[in-house]
């Protein structure tokens, strides 16, 4: 039996394939957007973008016909604004809106409705199979599926060691299950906007609104300069070991060099720092630093390893000053 979603589901989850199907069947066309009664929809769409870019979740929910068209208009508008950072923030806000609805649904709905949601959202959109525990309180995700997603979260509680794991399944509650796919939802929305092609003559009402929003958003995305005030403890530790003439593992050398490159030290200064190493060879060190900087060899510029990675490599010596950072380069940054 095919799984059917109600029209309420389409209003809450307008990114579902079924919502697009509804638009096709209703014979919706671009020209309709210039009709006077669409003004309200265009206003709603602009509001939805503004709210999203501000970092909040747009929480009005109307009839499904209105929601589906509003969502489409919002995508068109974001596309014609053409600002990537604004699109990212908007997409994340849409994902958080869906997250809110999904969490409520998973807590409230009956078994069949839950199954339909799993099927349509988790499986159809993201290829994720989810099971429910016998008592219905927890959800089960395969370990590899979990790792693929959770490893991009920075909070320690998402590390698999802090989860209930057994026989290849990770156990999550409703909020956590939905949180797991939220960023993918944002990616899905971003890629839909990227893939969209705008009609050569964009309806005037949308063009005007997009111009207005673009002008209002531009000042938010000006470049902010940062200054490094002191080294993070992991880098300090590596420098101390080096200072004593002791052997520093390869992974620590990589961290030290990429960090120094990232904060703008010259290659000469960096090569000089390794002078104390017991196996120092200037020619080799210089080549390695240049390799990491992307000027020799593979031409890939290496980034500074994340705090997570340093933790697994036993190179992290975090102090309370490290709170809230996910990469050593963020340490001690003060906005000018």
């Amino acid at each position: 039996m095919p799984i059917r979603l109600g029209t309420g589901d389409l209003a809450r989850y307008p990114f579902l394939n079924e919502a697009g199907e509804y638009l096709r069947q209703s014979g919706f066309g671009w020209e309709e957007l210039d009709r006077p009664d669409m003004k309200d929809i265009i206003e709603r769409a602009a509001d939805r973008i503004r709210t999203g870019v501000d970092g909040s979740v747009y929480d009005k929910l109307d009839r499904y016909e209105t929601e589906i068209i509003t969502f489409l208009v919002t995508l068109i508008m974001v596309k014609s604004i053409g600002m990537e950072p604004a699109l990212k923030k908007y997409a994340l806000a849409e994902a958080r809106r869906a997250e809110k609805f999904l969490t409520e649904d998973l807590k409230k709905q009956n078994e069949a409705q839950k199954r339909a949601l799993f099927e349509k959202i988790f499986y159809d959109l993201f290829g994720l199979v989810i099971d429910v525990t016998e008592d219905g309180r927890l959800f089960k995700v395969k370990a590899a599926d979990y790792l693929m997603r959770s490893s991009h979260f920075h909070e320690q509680e998402w590390k698999m060691i802090n989860r209930l794991v057994s026989k290849g399944q990770v156990y999550l509650d409703a909020d956590e299950t939905v949180r797991l796919v939220r960023s993918e939802l944002a990616v899905l929305i971003t890629s839909r906007v990227h893939a969209m092609s705008l009609p050569p003559a964009l309806p005037q009402a949308i063009r005007e609104k997009a111009d207005e929003l673009r002008a209002a958003l531009a000042p938010h995305y000006e470049y902010r300069a940062h200054a490094v005030t002191e080294y993070p403890p992991c880098v300090m530790h590596a420098l101390e070991v080096m200072g004593k003439g002791e052997n520093l593992p390869h992974s620590a050398r990589l961290m030290l060099a990429t960090y120094m490159l990232a904060i703008g030290k010259s290659k000469n200064e960096i090569v000089e720092m390794f002078k104390n190493a017991p196996d120092y060879n200037e020619r080799i060190t210089r080549y390695q630093v240049e390799h990491l900087a992307g000027t020799k060899g593979s031409r890939t510029k290496y980034s500074v390893p994340s705090c997570d990675k340093l933790r697994t490599e036993n190179l992290c010596f975090a102090t309370s000053d490290c709170a809230g950072i996910i990469n050593p380069v963020q340490f001690g940054r003060r906005r000018k």
Partner: protein, 379 residues
């Protein structure tokens, strides 16, 4: 080529010519191969073979010192790294005896002077070369039975995490002796192949016991002080790491008061956290994080000889009874005369050697073992 390299090379060639223990990895044509050569720096990489026969023919012809095969699968394995098109990588683990900090190591570590190459018997205290007075030395270890048992203990833990927690079938975890002083594990489970380096790093944390939060065990920080209070997680303590630690602390999801007392005893939230961190690392398996998180690694090829020892990287059908000094010692036994650099004790193929004379005539496998270790020269 040096006389030493010639002796090793001829023993390796004979092995590759006669060997029966090399099998094609799955999807052999999507893997990158590489090898290093005697007396040369660096590695010949970006090679591809259509069949195991083709690879063996190359090994017999080139006789490399070490042979590697990628854990990754690529659409174009012979192209430069950026153009290979990564398709996924087998999940691999490395347990190395030298990383375990075993107490027996100093008793079988031979210092070799970094300045003059003079070898000395194992000794305590500060090193000073008896030939040139040099202070720096590389240390060569002749692993003992305790080293191998230490690695096996870690291996059993790793297997327990992989089967019990991660749900991988035991028969899909292939264990190999590394050819020197440890074990390699290749997991045959397609669901882990797409994982990127970050996801594998999280998995390493799980297996090694890194990053367990006090909150996961129910110990939380009271606001404004360092005192701890207990509130168990909704999902309970009945499985995985939580169960392991709960068993160790002799608590369950009803032990609110007992856990509160334990935390208090350890000095509050921070003290409990530090203790938990210590316990978890102790209970985790000591695996090399670099190996598992590298999704482009060329990893020693099963069935080939390790030039650090002349022993083979070989599959262990039964880890418990596996004896690397017999089961992985696969070179020929023609007599070879060697000049000893120092007095050495070791065991191969069930025979104990205690060589103190200046020169000795040994079966090729034993002579190669000592030359590879840098403790003897071909006479």
């Amino acid at each position: 080529m040096s006389r030493n390299a010639e002796v090793i090379r001829s023993a390796f060639r004979e092995y590759y010519f006669k060997q029966k223990s090399m099998h094609a990895p799955d999807a052999i044509d999507q893997r990158e191969f590489g090898y290093s050569q005697f007396g040369m720096h660096g590695m010949v990489r970006h090679l591809s073979f259509k069949s195991i026969g083709e690879l063996i023919a190359t090994l017999v012809k080139e006789v490399p010192s070490d042979v590697y095969c990628s854990n990754a699968l690529y659409r174009f394995p012979t192209l430069p790294m950026q153009e290979k098109q990564w398709l996924g990588a087998d999940l691999i683990f490395d347990i190395d005896g030298k990383d375990l900090g075993l107490p027996c190591v100093p008793s079988h570590s031979y210092p070799i002077c970094a300045a003059c190459g003079h070898a000395s018997p194992p000794g305590d205290g500060d090193y000073s070369c008896s030939a040139c007075g040099g202070k720096k030395a590389d240390r060569v270890s002749i692993p003992c039975g305790k080293c191998i048992d230490g690695s096996k203990k870690e291996a059993r833990r790793l297997i327990d995490f992989m089967t019990e927690d991660l749900g991988v079938e035991r028969q899909n975890i292939d264990a190999y002796f590394s050819g020197n002083n440890g074990f390699h594990f290749h997991v045959r489970d397609d669901s882990y192949r797409p994982l990127d380096s970050q996801a594998r790093s999280d998995l390493v944390g799980y297996i090694a016991g890194i990053g367990l939060l006090a909150e996961s065990m129910g110990v939380r920080k009271a606001s404004g002080s360092d005192e701890a209070f207990v509130k168990f997680p909704k999902s309970g303590l009945a499985l995985g790491w939580r169960k392991r630690v709960a068993d160790k602390l002799k608590i369950d999801a009803a032990s609110i008061i007992k856990l509160g007392n334990i935390a208090k005893e350890k000095g509050g939230y921070a003290g409990f956290k530090a203790e938990l961190d210590r316990i978890a690392r102790e209970m985790g398996a000591r695996i090399d994080p670099q190996v598992t998180t590298d999704v482009h690694r060329v990893f020693r090829m099963p069935g080939t000889i390790n030039s650090k020892s002349g022993l083979a990287k070989i599959k262990c059908d039964d880890l418990d009874s596996f004896d690397p000094f017999t089961d992985a010692c696969l070179l020929g036994s023609a007599k070879v005369r060697v000049k000893m650099k120092t007095q050495v004790k070791f065991r191969l193929k069930g025979e104990h050697y205690n060589l103190s004379k200046e020169s000795a005539e040994l079966p090729a496998y034993a002579a190669v073992y000592l030359i590879c270790k840098g403790l003897a020269d071909s006479a």
